[in-house]
C-alpha cells in the first residue's frame, strides 16, 4: 500500500488488488470531513473538506485495517432483468469456445459485485465475470452503444446507463421494463453503488 498526495485535501491510496480496494474503501468510510471516496481498479481516492483533519488520519486508519479481509458494509442486492441478444453475443461465445446458450448460462449464473463506478454517471464496473468471458475490447469501438447494453471487457462486465461511444463486447440489454440505471431525478439516482451485489435474470 502506498499513499500519494493529491492536493492539499485529498490522498490517493494505491493498493495491489480489487479486493484491497474494497477493504480500503470500507475502512475509510465515515472519516471526519470526508467529501469523496472514489474506488477504482487499484486505488481509492479520498478527499476532505478544506482544512479537515481527516486527511491526516488516512494512514493510521489503513495501518489498523486488514486489507486482506472482505469488507462488511451496507451493500445492496440488486437483480437486473436482461435480454441476451447483444450484438457481440456470438463473438463472445465463440471466443470462449461455448455455444451461445452456454455463454448466456455462464454470464447469467455468476454473482457479481460493483467494484467501482466511472466513465459516466451510473456506469458500474462489475467483478465476478467467469474467466471464459473475460475478453478484450472490440478492436474498433462503436460510436454509439444503446442505453442499457450489457457488455464485457477484461475482468469486468457492465451496463451502459445511457447511449455513448464504447468498445465493450455486447452480450445483452436491460429489459424494457427494468428500472433505469441512472436517473438524476430519482432518489437514489444510481441503481448501483460500489460494494453492491448484482445478479442478472434472464428474460426473453
Amino acid at each position: 500500500m502506498r499513499l500519494r498526495r493529491c492536493g492539499p485535501d485529498a490522498v490517493l491510496v494505491e493498493v495491489d488488488s480489487l479486493s484491497e480496494v474494497a477493504a480500503a474503501r470500507a475502512a475509510l468510510t465515515g472519516l471526519p470531513g470526508l467529501v469523496e471516496l472514489v474506488p477504482a481498479a487499484r486505488t481509492v481516492l479520498v478527499s476532505f473538506e478544506p482544512g479537515s483533519p481527516g486527511s491526516r488520519q488516512v494512514q493510521a486508519v489503513l495501518d489498523q485495517a486488514d486489507l486482506s479481509a472482505a469488507p462488511v458494509g451496507d451493500s445492496a442486492d440488486v437483480t437486473l432483468p436482461v435480454v441476451y441478444d447483444g450484438a457481440d453475443l456470438e463473438l463472445v461465445a465463440e471466443t470462449a469456445g461455448l455455444s451461445v446458450d452456454e455463454a448466456i448460462a455462464l454470464h447469467s449464473s455468476a454473482d457479481y459485485t460493483v467494484a467501482f463506478c466511472g466513465f459516466a454517471p451510473g456506469f458500474a464496473y462489475l467483478t465476478g465475470l467467469p474467466e471464459l468471458l473475460q475478453q478484450p475490447r472490440l478492436g474498433n469501438p462503436r460510436t454509439r452503444v444503446p442505453t442499457g447494453s450489457v457488455g464485457v471487457a477484461g475482468e469486468f462486465t457492465g451496463i451502459y446507463p445511457r447511449s455513448s461511444p464504447g468498445g465493450w463486447r455486447l452480450v445483452a440489454r436491460l429489459a424494457d421494463d427494468a428500472a433505469a440505471l441512472f436517473d438524476p431525478t430519482r432518489e437514489p439516482a444510481a441503481l448501483l453503488s460500489p460494494g453492491d451485489r448484482v445478479r442478472f435474470e434472464v428474460v426473453s
Binding site: 492536493g7 485529498a10 472514489v38 481516492l45 478527499s47
Partner: protein
C-alpha cells in the same frame, strides 16, 4: 405577478449554477457547480441569499432577463456593464428591479465568467442535491435559452450593500501554485519542468478543464508510453494526456482519469483559472 425571471438573451452560454453536488464521485457524478465560487458567493450575499443559492453563470456576458415581480439582483465576476431598462447601474452591488424591468449584461472587457444572483435564488428542481448544470454528464437544467421562465424563490434576507466591492481584474499572466502529485514521479523532474514552462490557455478550454498549450511535459525514463489504470481525480488536478499538454480539471471534470496527474491546483486558486481567457499565459509553480 409571479416570482420568475424570463430569459430574453443568453449571450454565448448561460448556465444555472450553485455550489455543485460534491460527494457523488463514487457514482461517476462530477461535482459541477460555479467555476468562480467566490464570485457566486458574493453575488448571493449582495442579493441577500445564502451563499449556496443558485444563480446564473454567464460566459462573456450578453445575458438579458425580465423580472416577473419586484426582486433584487446582483452581478459579480470581472468588471461588466449592467443596465436596467437601458440605464447603467452598478455591478457588484444590489440592484432593485420592479415587475417588468429588464436587466442586461454587457460583455466583460477582461475575464470570462460573470455571475447574476437574484433574491430568493433560482429554484429549478435540484438533481442529486444541486441545481447546477453539468455539461459533461448532462445532469441538471439545460443551458438557458431565450424564452425560458426561471422560477425564483422567496427572499430570505435583506440585500447586503457591501461598501465598495472592487471587481477583480483578471491578469494576462497568472502564476498558479501547484501541489505535486499523485503521479509527479511519471515525469522527469516534474517540479523543475513545471517551473520552467509558460503555458497559454487554449480556446478549447471549457467547464471540464482548462487546456494548456506549450512545450509538452516529458515523461521520466521508464514511463514513456506507459499506461495508467484509471483512478479518481480531484477538481484542480493537472492531468497530462499522451500529448504532454496539461489539462487542469474544473468543476465538470470526469470522476476518474486514465492519464497521470502531475499535480493539483489548490481549490482557492481555481477561480482565477475560471476567468483566464484563451491566450492568457500561465506558470504552474510546483
Amino acid at each position: 405577478m409571479s416570482r420568475v425571471l424570463t430569459v430574453l438573451a443568453t449571450g454565448p452560454l448561460a448556465l444555472i449554477e450553485d455550489l455543485g453536488r460534491p460527494g457523488h464521485a463514487h457514482l461517476g457524478v462530477p461535482p459541477s457547480g460555479a467555476l468562480d465560487v467566490p464570485s457566486l458567493r458574493l453575488a448571493n450575499r449582495l442579493a441577500g441569499n445564502p451563499e449556496d443559492a443558485a444563480g446564473i453563470e454567464c460566459v462573456l456576458g450578453g445575458l438579458s432577463l425580465r423580472a416577473g415581480s419586484s426582486c433584487t439582483v446582483a452581478v459579480t465576476g470581472p468588471s461588466v456593464s449592467v443596465q436596467v431598462n437601458g440605464r447603467l447601474v452598478d455591478s457588484h452591488a444590489p440592484v432593485h428591479l420592479r415587475a417588468d424591468d429588464v436587466v442586461a449584461l454587457g460583455t466583460p472587457l477582461s475575464g470570462v465568467r460573470t455571475y447574476l444572483a437574484v433574491s430568493g435564488g433560482i429554484t429549478v428542481s435540484p438533481q442529486l442535491g444541486s441545481r447546477s448544470t453539468d455539461l459533461l454528464s448532462g445532469i441538471g437544467p439545460a443551458p438557458l435559452a431565450v424564452g425560458d421562465v426561471l422560477p425564483v424563490g422567496d427572499p430570505v434576507g435583506p440585500p447586503v450593500g457591501e461598501d465598495a466591492v472592487p471587481p477583480p481584474s483578471p491578469p494576462d499572466f497568472l502564476a498558479v501554485p501547484v501541489v505535486l502529485g499523485p503521479r509527479d514521479d511519471w515525469f522527469a523532474d516534474a517540479g523543475a519542468q513545471l517551473a520552467a514552462a509558460v503555458w497559454s490557455v487554449s480556446p478549447e478550454s471549457n467547464r471540464v478543464g482548462l487546456r494548456l498549450l506549450g512545450d509538452p511535459l516529458r515523461r521520466a525514463p521508464g514511463f514513456e508510453g506507459r499506461e495508467l489504470t484509471s483512478e479518481g481525480v480531484v477538481t484542480g488536478a493537472i492531468q497530462v494526456p499522451a500529448n504532454g499538454r496539461p489539462v487542469v480539471f474544473l468543476a465538470d471534470h470526469p470522476t476518474t482519469g486514465g492519464y497521470p496527474v502531475v499535480g493539483v491546483v489548490p481549490e482557492r486558486h481555481l477561480a482565477a483559472l475560471a476567468q483566464a481567457r484563451p491566450g492568457t499565459r500561465i506558470r504552474l509553480r510546483g
